[in-house]
């Protein structure tokens, strides 16, 4: 293994502030425990539930949301393919969830300033999974259950149990950004 590839860090959910503080941009992380799926419409519903002071389908404290809409599970499998979707579509909603205790997000692609600021202010972390590696990523998902918004089909909120789910830290609480820094490193412009 080349020197510049860092060793993987294993973490368990729910995430504590100690774990968040220890994570740095570029760290390769293997997540185990429970994570929740939510994407566009589920985010909109979660945020309106918060605004209307309704009970949320799950307690956000210390949790990780994975931006994915899996394919249906074929017979004998717990889930179909489940790779990350583009994160910026959730930018308007994420700060509100982070303020309510959400600690981690998994997706792909850069986040807006409002999310990066909330990550720093409330101590959270944004991870990327490899976009398009959906069959491979599904191997780390051991259990899947729809817990809310079943009418949304693939966009429903699922409770996943994952083992060593592979991600990389993009935005840490120290204001670093993997996409900006690593692009600069290899840019010849």
């Amino acid at each position: 293994m080349p020197k510049s590839i860092k060793k993987e860090i294993r973490i368990m959910t729910p995430l504590t502030d100690e774990v968040i503080k220890s994570l740095k941009t570029g760290d390769k992380v293997l997540i185990s425990g429970v994570i929740y799926t939510a994407r566009d419409v589920a985010h909109k519903r979660l945020v309106s539930a918060i605004k209307d002071k309704e009970k949320l389908p799950f307690n956000l404290k210390g949790q990780i949301i994975y931006y994915t809409g899996p394919t249906p599970e074929p017979p004998g499998k717990v889930i179909g393919s489940a790779g990350p979707t583009t994160s910026f579509r959730m930018d308007a909603f994420s700060p509100i969830l982070i303020k309510k205790g959400l600690k981690g997000m998994i997706g792909k692609g850069p986040r807006g300033k409002e999310v990066i600021d909330a990550i720093k202010k409330y101590k959270a972390v944004y991870f990327a999974a490899v976009g398009g590696a959906a069959a491979l990523l599904s191997k780390s998902i051991k259990k899947s259950e729809i817990i809310a918004y079943e009418d949304l089909g693939t966009e429903a909120i699922r409770r996943l149990e994952v083992e060593d789910f592979p991600v990389i830290v993009v935005n840490d609480i120290y204001g670093n950004d993997l996409y900006i820094e690593d692009t600069k490193r290899y840019s010849k412009e």
Binding site: S81, G83, G132, K184
Partner: protein, 280 residues
């Protein structure tokens, strides 16, 4: 007249949907192999190897390569001497999509209306472009179009006097701006000329070409090479984690245009280039 039956088209289309979603073609797999040779970033290299592993798992377990199994796009070449029995071509294709997406456990990602947004539950309707051609064959080109990269695509009506430099910077800027979201390494389809909608179609058609096959026109092939070099200087790399391979190929299709126009469209395609073709 050659007769082709509705059910035959539907069955073949269904099979093609599943095949495209789960089995990547050799052209993309070889392009990833070439990228592995070329990539300088250790993390980028690791991503490329994961993509190869992902393709293998998908093939062996009949799982979709990517969870976004897209909107179903068809380019049909309809021979003048073909007669379809038992129904209409578009209905047959949509029936195939309906069956294939169900049978293959593919994701249904289509909503009935851009405002009402109710999922149609069977991934129809497909988008179908039909061209009438000579002969007694029906050729169906199929492409899975995911939204991650499609959303990062762009179109611009340049001034005719702006020329090649403006075209290059428009394309490279589009990759710089949206490339990470589009799941690099990318295949970049470019449409040049025609008019507003024609150049978008050309950009899409460019993505149907075998990956890395240069344009038949020498000056266009050299422009493709130039733009590819420019994109790969950006440093975005596989998955956007930094690296030397941001794009695997640039394909350009052209069409004559108005004296006052120079339309250019950039259609980004993720590394999961899923396309199949069949002739009936």
């Amino acid at each position: 007249m050659k007769e082709i039956h509705f059910n035959d088209i539907a069955d073949k289309v269904a099979q093609m949907c599943i095949d495209a979603a789960c089995n990547l073609d050799d052209d993309i797999l070889s392009a990833l192999d070439r990228a592995i040779e070329f990539e300088k970033s250790p993390l980028g290299l690791e991503v490329l190897k994961q993509l190869k592993e992902n393709a293998e798992i998908a093939r062996n377990e009949a799982l979709p390569v990517c969870q976004d199994t897209g909107i179903a796009l068809f380019f049909v070449e309809y021979g003048e001497d073909v007669e379809i029995k038992g129904g209409l071509l578009n209905d047959a294709i949509n029936e195939g999509v309906r069956q294939g997406y169900k049978k293959g456990y593919l994701r249904k990602s289509i909503v009935n209306d851009p405002i009402a947004r109710r999922n149609t539950q069977d991934n129809t309707p497909a988008i179908i472009h039909t061209e009438l051609v000579e002969g007694d064959k029906l050729k169906i080109n199929f492409k899975i179009v995911g939204a991650g990269c499609e959303n990062m695509s762009k179109i611009k009506m340049l001034k005719p006097t702006e020329g090649i430099e403006e075209i290059k910077s428009f394309v490279i800027d589009a990759v710089k701006e949206g490339g990470i979201n589009a799941c690099p390494p990318l295949i970049v389809g470019i449409g040049l000329g025609g008019n507003f909608e024609m150049c978008a179609l050309l950009a899409k058609k460019a993505l149907l070409r075998p990956i890395g096959q240069p344009s038949k026109r020498m000056e266009i092939a050299s422009l493709e090479e130039d733009i590819l070099k420019g994109i790969n200087k950006l440093g975005i790399g596989p998955a956007g984690f930094g690296g030397s391979v941001t794009a695997l190929a640039v394909h350009i299709e052209t069409y004559p245009c108005h004296i006052a126009s120079l339309p250019v469209a950039v259609n980004l395609n993720c590394h999961a280039s899923r396309k199949k073709a069949l002739i009936l």
